[in-house]
């Protein structure tokens, strides 16, 4: 154990949660990686290098923390389109994400077919997703049902925004999972906006409270507090594998970026509001925690930033230089080919 600051005599929270020092540092590294990846993609789009980017800035803390609380070798994941932090944490590489951003043939998510942010990788058990929101919620329930039928001690983990929590598929999926007590964790990333519409015009109550109607716990958590998110997701996973059924988690956060590179957010919210929320950003909080316990330093931060910058440079080069799909490959994979499953 490294030296701790004298102000903390109690056991550090990450230790209380059963996390090693290395794990908690690793978690922070992924948060920062996701942030830098996201910022770079905004720039790439503005520079005309890529067509589109939909940002997850402000949401990385909860995404990465949730991933670390799951079994990243065995669980099934149904992330939504802002979940760069999540997919990086479960094993997707920067190069793979850049191949997607540049819509190249070797993009493992879709072979250059889908917009960036539409994740999918059978190897990583990231289930392919689409753009009509919330369709992934019943899929997560179906995977949990299959796990129950095959008596596998895994969970499915699905995320979505608070806007999505109004869709029928949210309610139908949660109810189905509640009835069958399925091993699924629903995590709402409540970032306060469905594009331009604020929660005051989206939600008549709290998202977390909706779980009550479906017979399982709904928990609201500060999405900028990595260790709290880790704790509630871990507990939800333990409940799920014990056969006690699903959990709904509402992680509170703020979408610090515009909805996408096609959005001017200052048309519907003020700079003051955005600036105020930057102060709550979970990434510097995590950094302060690590420094406080002597697990991190400004020197290490600078070294990491340099390393990430180099990794991004390499990934962008690979993404940019990789070949596009052949035009006629547009016709492939409508149905299985001979002998394919």
């Amino acid at each position: 154990m490294n030296a701790k600051s004298s102000s903390t005599t109690t056991q550090p929270k990450h230790e209380q949660l059963g996390m090693s020092d290395a794990e908690v540092v690793d978690m922070y590294k992924y948060m920062l990686l996701a942030r830098k990846f996201d910022e770079r993609n905004m720039l790439l789009q503005r520079a005309g290098k890529i067509n589109f980017h939909v940002s997850g800035i402000g949401q990385e803390t909860a995404q990465v923390a949730a991933a670390f609380a799951l079994d990243r070798e065995r669980d099934y994941f149904l992330p939504y389109y802002r979940d760069y932090g999540f997919v990086l944490s479960v094993g997707m590489s920067l190069t793979e994400l850049m191949l997607s951003a540049f819509a190249k043939a070797d993009d493992p998510n879709s072979g250059g077919r889908q917009m960036p942010g539409h994740f999918g990788s059978k190897r990583l058990r990231i289930v392919t997703g689409s753009s009509p929101v919330t369709t992934q919620v019943p899929h997560a329930v179906g995977i949990a049902l299959a796990a129950k039928m095959q008596k596998k001690d895994i969970v499915s983990f699905v995320t979505f925004g608070e806007g999505s929590s109004n869709q029928g598929d949210f309610h139908e999926g949660l109810n189905f999972a509640g009835v069958q007590k399925l091993p699924v964790i629903f995590m709402c990333e409540n970032n306060q906006y469905a594009i331009s519409v604020p929660t005051t015009k989206q939600l008549g109550g709290k998202v977390a409270d909706r779980a009550q109607g479906y017979g399982f716990p709904g928990i609201r958590v500060d999405g900028n507090d990595a260790l709290e998110v880790y704790r509630v997701v871990k507990e939800a996973r333990e409940r799920a594998v014990r056969g006690e059924g699903p959990t709904l988690i509402e992680a509170m956060m703020y979408r610090l970026s515009p909805h996408s590179t096609s959005d001017n957010d200052l048309a519907y919210r003020t700079k003051e509001e955005v600036d105020e929320n930057w102060k709550k950003d979970g990434i510097p909080k995590m950094k302060a925690y690590l420094i406080d316990y002597g697990l991190w330093s400004e020197e290490q931060e600078e070294a990491l930033l340099r390393e990430i910058s180099q990794q991004l440079k390499n990934a962008i080069e690979k993404g940019e230089q990789a070949p596009f799909p052949k035009p006629e490959d547009t016709l492939l994979h409508v149905y299985a080919g001979e002998g394919e499953v």
Partner: protein
């Protein structure tokens, strides 16, 4: 070979596939304890248990969506929509998800789900228990759609659908459930998806269709042969997506006079595509304009008996259309 009803053949197909492969399971409203509102799944829960023959909440998008999730995991779900009229809440799951999963993941993921739904009227079901929704899903690449006419085909096509690596919509005709009785082998056979079937060889006119109206065409053809010496060639599409283009062209060429029949309404129906294929491939071999006899372009079938009768095709209506075409 036992004689069985069309509905028994569907049930037997599910039973055999569930015995063959433990990943096959059935889910839907009332499919378990009750055995389905038509008895299609009767006895299956007793044999296979509550998990594999699952009574679900009344929520069609979840029935489809949960089945899709399970299919992506590697299961082989058969999702039942109680009536095809109630299938539309699941349309987003079927068209945006099931149909596109293989394509959008560049062949990484697949979705081998079967969605069964009873179609058709003539049972005093009114607007919302009588519809033929084929044209809503037809023309969605990534989906396969089958619509059996006979009990033999119902069993063989459903077994093929369960084993198919891609999503299949299985449109079973509820009027056929009890009306159609015939020899159905109890052994393991499949009817391949994508292959049309010549029901009757003939030389004067060609009738192309699927599902219930082909029974009317078969009866009419027998009468026309006996009464007027008109020889009708009848092609059952069996699979309406992807269409068996070769079989369509071949049967059109055979007589040069084509009548297309289906109960789904005329505009934008499967028949329009069949007519277009014939026009593209063999227009100059035709001796008469392509004819279509279909449900009328009204929103759905009314319940009042004279109105239902007006909407439905019948042996007499098909016979009249066949006669007119033969005389052209």
């Amino acid at each position: 070979m036992p004689v069985m009803e069309y509905i028994d053949a569907i049930r037997l197909a599910m039973k055999e596939e569930m015995e063959r492969d433990e990943n096959v399971f059935v889910l839907g409203e009332d499919v378990g304890v009750k055995g389905g509102v038509f008895t299609t799944t009767k006895g299956l829960q007793e044999q296979f248990g509550e998990l594999r023959v699952m009574d679900t909440p009344l929520a069609e998008s979840a029935i489809a969506g949960v089945a899709i999730g399970a299919a992506m995991y590697g299961m082989k779900p058969i999702a039942e929509m109680q009536y095809s009229d109630f299938m539309l809440p699941a349309t987003n799951q079927i068209i945006s998800e099931a149909a596109k999963i293989r394509y959008r993941s560049n062949n990484d993921w697949s979705c081998p789900v079967v969605v069964r739904a009873p179609i058709g009227g003539g049972i005093f079901g009114g607007l919302y228990h009588s519809q033929c929704p084929e044209s809503i899903f037809f023309g969605t690449p990534g989906l396969k759609i089958v619509a059996p006419y006979s009990a033999y085909d119902a069993k063989g096509l459903l077994k093929a659908a369960v084993r198919d690596p891609d999503p299949v919509l299985f449109f079973e005709n509820k009027k056929c459930y009890k009306l159609i009785k015939e020899d159905v082998p109890e052994d393991d056979y499949i009817v391949p998806i994508g292959k049309a079937n010549v029901l009757r060889e003939g030389t004067d006119i060609t009738v192309i269709g699927y599902s219930l109206p082909l029974h009317f065409a078969m009866q009419a053809a027998a009468e026309l042969e006996a009464e007027q010496g008109i020889s009708a060639h009848i092609l059952d599409l069996r699979t309406i997506q992807p269409l068996d283009r070769e079989a369509i062209i071949e049967s059109a060429r055979k007589t040069g006079k084509v009548l297309i029949v289906h109960e789904d309404n005329k505009t934008g129906g499967v028949g329009a595509e069949v007519a277009a294929i014939i026009s593209e491939e063999c227009l100059f071999e035709l001796d008469a304009p392509i004819q279509r006899l279909c449900g009328p372009d009204v929103p759905a079938m009314p319940i009042s008996p004279p109105m239902e009768k007006f909407f439905m095709l019948s042996k007499d209506k098909v016979k009249e259309a066949m006669t007119q075409l033969a005389l052209f």
